[in-house]
Amino acid sequence: MSTLIVTEIQKGAIREASYELVAFAQKIGGDYASLVIGSGVGDLATAFAGKGGGKTYVADDASLADYNVDGYNAAIQAAVAASGATTILVSNTPSGWDVAPRVAAALDAGFISDVFNHQDGNFVRRVFNGKLDAQVSAGGGTTVVTVQPGAIAPFEGSADGSTEALSVDTSGARAKFVETKVAEAKGVDLSKAEIIVSGGRGVGDPEKFPEVIQPLADALGGAMGASRPVVDAGWLPHEYQVGSSGQVVTPKLYVACGISGAIQHLVGMKGSNFIVAINKDADAPIFEVAQLGVVGDLFEIVPALTAAITAAKG
């Protein structure tokens, strides 16, 4: 049994999630090797090899300077062949989820995505947008597994390692990287707000945001936010979105109204100092990260709370 860790470079460094994969490989047990992909990344690979990566293959090629699905697919397959690994670990990031299923299909391998734990020999992941957990077993053959960033503490030690150059044929790559566009400046900067009152799909109607959610935010002297479905539906502009693809916030108080708590939202607000959740569904995952919860109708609770806050402030 042997594992291959596919690392990822972000802003010129091996990202933290790659060290989490080291910890995950150690948790699974058995031998492991690593792969660093990029251009001019020999030093990064050497450093990673000595910080837990073990034997580290280096796919170093000018054509791999920026992520492209076809080139990375070829590099990972080459490393699987060279290492003989039967478990391939990839971080579940935008590049990881782009390429990992292709590797699985090319190798006719099993695929298990976005796992956050390895328990009783099974991989554990969320399904139904966080409402249920599933334990999934790998069959006897090769398995590609993507791991949720932040789910496991990164390996922080040092160990003996070595590097080995890996030759990769990227001549068949069709996808061409053009550029990366950084996020546009936000009209609404939630990152500085001390109090955020956010509404989700449970608010039900775009008109209810100015009528119900904004007044509570105003009464508390805070800002209004929203979850992804609200923005996708066009009820509020993207600048209000809290979550992995929106703004990551850490206010002193976060009030989640009608937000069930899909993982992409939780990633954006779970670092808040204190979280209050108001939701009619007692099983909503938001109650797992909240310190204080109300199972009830937000249209009763929120206006009454707004009135009480306004009265208390006199």
């Binding site: 292709r102 299909a105 090319a106 969320r126 399904v127 139904f128 077993s137 996808a175 709370l305």
Partner: protein, 260 residues
Amino acid sequence: MKILVALKQVPHQDARLDVNGDGTWIKEDGIKFEINSYDTYALEEALRIKDAGEAEVVVISIGPDRVTQALRTALGMGADRAVHVNDDALVGSDSLGIAKTLAAIGKEESPDLVFMGLMSDDGNASAVPPMVAELMGLTSATGVLKAELSDGNVRVERELEGGALEVVDLPTPALLAVQSGLNQVRYASLKGIMAAKKKPIDVKTAADLGVADAVGSGGAKVKIEKVYQPPKGDGAELLEGSTDEIVTGLVNKIKELGLL
């Protein structure tokens, strides 16, 4: 131009989820189903290309009889015809089995573009679209928030973390797995729904597609051992009582935090 759209019918997002008897999935009896939310954006993107020029939009789906409803909805929105893989042999398939089935249809159809949703609202795997691309020999992009077609090329913007975007050129044919929110999805018009009744739905089995050995629990390379409610952590302290009592509790807590 021919555009293929694969869509999945999933439990309604507000459906009550109870674990089934053997603890490996949910009970499907008596719950409402809908088209997977990401897939509605995929279909809309294909229909916009059709609206802007000339394209045939073919929708494909896998599942039991209830899936006919989802395909009729898609046809009502403007798709031209449908392929429905309706075969109990597919029950228990893993992502790769599903991808092989869709890819078999894809190879028969040879589309210029394939649109799918980034993930499904039930399995949340984000697995099938890149697999289908690999099996069909197409290049692909996931998390697509914008797609611009020009002669033989599609320029896409992929969503990265924190709202950044990656711009990529893909030669067609290509497969795009779309992120939610890239367009505003239309509703089926009454006229569209009436017209959909005359549009063909071609029903196929795994054997028709030559994938019988790759599908079902027998073909699956990974297996769901059990599903269950996530273990409750410390969780939230719940405020109960009348609205007044709850509001008083909330105000007291906000005061305690020094925010009032």
